[in-house]
């Protein structure tokens, strides 16, 4: 039944003509396309075509048949096929040409330039957005009627409470790893006991807060972007605006405040978990009893280091929330855009957190804390 279409050059009393037969459908299009190209080289323009032998024909076949005829007459069609051919002939035009690709080296420079500009624009817009948040915050805080306790509680649960298991587990494991690593190096100097200082110092000052910030950037910052982004693409953000509400106040402030509260609390848990991880390794593998561990921690001046570490938590929280929400507002239209901006949000938030942490380390070192 299904026979691939074919066309042959034939001669009759009144000149040559092409006899087409078989099925002229999309399935056989590649072969037919090659056949048509070949025949067109051999016959003169506007050759007569006898299509009486054609089995099934669809728009793809009609397009190829018209291509073969090239303005010539196509005979032997019944009314339905004539209608199909006419419909295709009426709308035929050259395929849409793709924009020409520029030489790759120039394109490389162009992309580099665009990316560099984008970095600058991102920083500029982030600063503007932070200003906008602060202004809205100052306007909203004195007016308790404009607080949104329900939204705040919801985001506290989502970004704070639900993150507790992963934050605690991750810091516990890293605490144990750092203790092992430290003990291995320090053993050569007979100074295994300084593992306590290593754990205390690193988790109170740096690791606790930084690991939590990175986890929250990946977990909550990305969620903020995706939530606001899909609201933006479905015009929900516009709806908020037309209802006389401020999107910053409705969408950003509850998320920002939730992170401002949750991140320091999570950081305390992270520090504890890291130190416990170190202490467990110490007790079971390094012969450092838990009493000794705690005594040495107290001698270290642990409280001072705790404040150094925890002071950075609100800063990270603010930046992660601001970046997450801003990237959400940048989303436009497509599903792909939501994905791009979510990725961008996580990368930026982690980058900014580490950069601010490095700057803070230098700052605290210079002022001698």
């Amino acid at each position: 039944m299904t026979t691939t279409g074919t066309a042959t050059l034939q001669r009759s009393a009144d000149g040559e003509f092409v006899a087409a037969s078989g099925d002229w459908t999309l399935a056989g299009a590649p072969a037919l396309g090659a056949l048509v190209a070949d025949l067109r080289r051999r016959v003169s323009r506007g050759v007569r075509i006898d299509a009486a032998g054609i089995g099934r024909i669809d728009t793809a076949g009609a397009e190829l048949l018209l291509d073969l005829a090239d303005g010539g007459e196509v005979g032997g069609l019944d009314a339905n096929r004539r209608a199909l051919l006419d419909a295709v002939a009426k709308v035929r035009h050259a395929p849409v040409s793709m924009p020409p690709r520029r030489p790759s080296l120039i394109a490389l420079f162009e992309r580099t330039g665009r990316a560099a500009e984008q970095v600058w624009l991102n920083a500029y817009r982030l600063l503007g957005f932070i200003g906008l948040i602060l202004v809205t915050l100052v306007r909203t805080v004195p007016d308790p009627r404009r607080w949104r306790p329900t939204a705040l509680a919801f985001h506290l649960e989502q970004a704070g409470l639900n993150a507790v298991p992963i934050v605690v587990l991750l810091n516990f494991l890293i605490g144990a790893v750092v203790a092992f690593l430290g003990a291995t190096v320090l053993k050569d100097f007979g100074a295994t006991i300084f593992t306590v200082e290593l754990i205390g110092f690193s988790f109170l000052r740096e690791f606790g807060v930084l690991l939590t910030a990175i986890l929250i950037a990946g977990r909550s910052g990305s969620a903020f972007t995706a939530q606001i982004g899909s609201m933006k693409s479905r015009e929900e953000v516009d709806a908020i605006r037309t209802l006389g509400l401020d999107p910053i106040e409705v969408l950003v402030l509850p998320r920002l405040l939730a992170l401002l509260i949750a991140l320091p609390l999570l950081t305390v848990l992270a520090m504890l978990a890291g130190i416990v991880g170190g202490a467990v390794v110490g007790a079971f593998a390094l012969d450092i009893s838990s009493t000794l561990f705690i005594t040495r921690l107290q001698d270290l001046g642990a409280v001072k280091h705790f404040w150094v570490g925890i002071s950075k938590a609100p800063l990270f929280a603010f930046l992660i929330a601001a970046i997450g929400c801003l990237e959400g507002f940048k989303v436009s239209g497509s599903a792909e855009s939501v994905g791009t901006h979510t990725t961008s949000s996580v990368v930026q938030a982690i980058f900014v957190s580490i950069m601010v942490d490095a700057m803070a380390a230098i700052f605290f070192m210079e002022i001698g804390i």
């Binding site: 299009a29 590649p30 728009t59 397009e63 209608a83 035929r92 924009p99 497509s334």
Partner: protein, 265 residues
């Protein structure tokens, strides 16, 4: 044309979500080459019926025969074979937002046939033109199109493989009257030239009066009545009477009669 044969046969269809029964013992026959309009109140299960026929929704009971294949018991390969011969235009277009219109149209060709890129581009341009879009629309992304153009682009994609049956879910909803009328004419033209069978869900009374050969009324969990519009609008049921004899129904009918008077056949 061959003698009328059924391309869609639905027997004893039952759909339910939880305790809510949407369809109960629903029968429907659609013949080759006709345009059938499906109407019904909101929530009467028009879209669920469409989804059941094209296999997106597994019915609780009953059989759906599509182009001679029993869809509920067919193998994956058989289903794929039949689905390839169906074009679906979803209510909101459902174009892939990360692809251009031309690329959207090429997706089914690319997935089902091995065609050279240049040939696919040519066929895509043809389908886009058949759907009544200007030449430059192919390079645009769905977010850059107006509502009417999105519908036409989605139609171009649903025509990509030259389907035997075209399913349209509210094709004229959200279009301005001129655009809606043009879309109606486009469906008619495509039916005449491509020999399509069209299953059409609509609330647009003008569409019903202009292009539908038969109208099916979905009510009381089944197809209450199906037939030419002149028969359906006389059917003795309060909902049907209100639908067709209400102010909008009468206006659409009057408009259609004026149209016929203006262009005598």
């Amino acid at each position: 044309m061959t003698a009328p044969e059924n391309v869609i046969t639905v027997r004893g269809l039952r759909n339910q979500f939880g305790a809510q029964v949407v369809h109960e013992n629903l029968d429907l026959d659609i013949r080759r080459g006709e345009i059938v309009g499906v109407v019904g109140g909101s929530g009467s299960g028009k879209s669920v019926l469409l989804r059941s026929i094209i296999g997106l929704n597994r019915p609780a009971a009953g059989s759906v025969e599509l182009l001679g294949t029993e869809m509920t018991s067919a193998s994956t390969a058989q289903r794929s074979e039949v689905e390839r011969r169906c074009g679906v235009l979803f209510q909101n277009g459902a174009l892939f937002s990360s692809l251009t219109v031309a690329e959207n149209t090429m997706v089914p060709m690319r997935e089902h046939f091995r065609l050279p890129q240049a040939m696919m581009a040519r066929f895509a341009a043809l389908k886009i033109a058949l759907a009544g879009l200007p030449e430059n629309a192919g390079a645009k992304y769905p977010s850059e199109l107006s509502g009417g153009m999105v519908k036409r682009a989605a139609l171009a994609r649903s025509l990509a493989l030259d389907p035997d049956i075209l399913f349209l879910d509210e094709p004229t909803a959200g279009l301005d009257p001129i655009g809606a009328a043009a879309f109606d004419q486009l469906i008619l033209t495509l039916r005449e030239s491509l020999g399509l069978t069209v299953f059409l869900i609509t609330h647009d009374l003008d569409t019903l009066y202009t292009i539908c050969d038969r109208v099916a009324v979905l009510s009381q969990k089944r197809v209450l009545v199906i037939g030419p519009l002149s028969e359906v609008e006389r059917y003795d049921d309060p909902w049907v009477q209100e639908y067709f004899q209400g102010p909008r129904g009468r206006a659409a009918e009057a408009a259609q009669q004026r149209l016929h008077a203006a262009q005598p056949h």
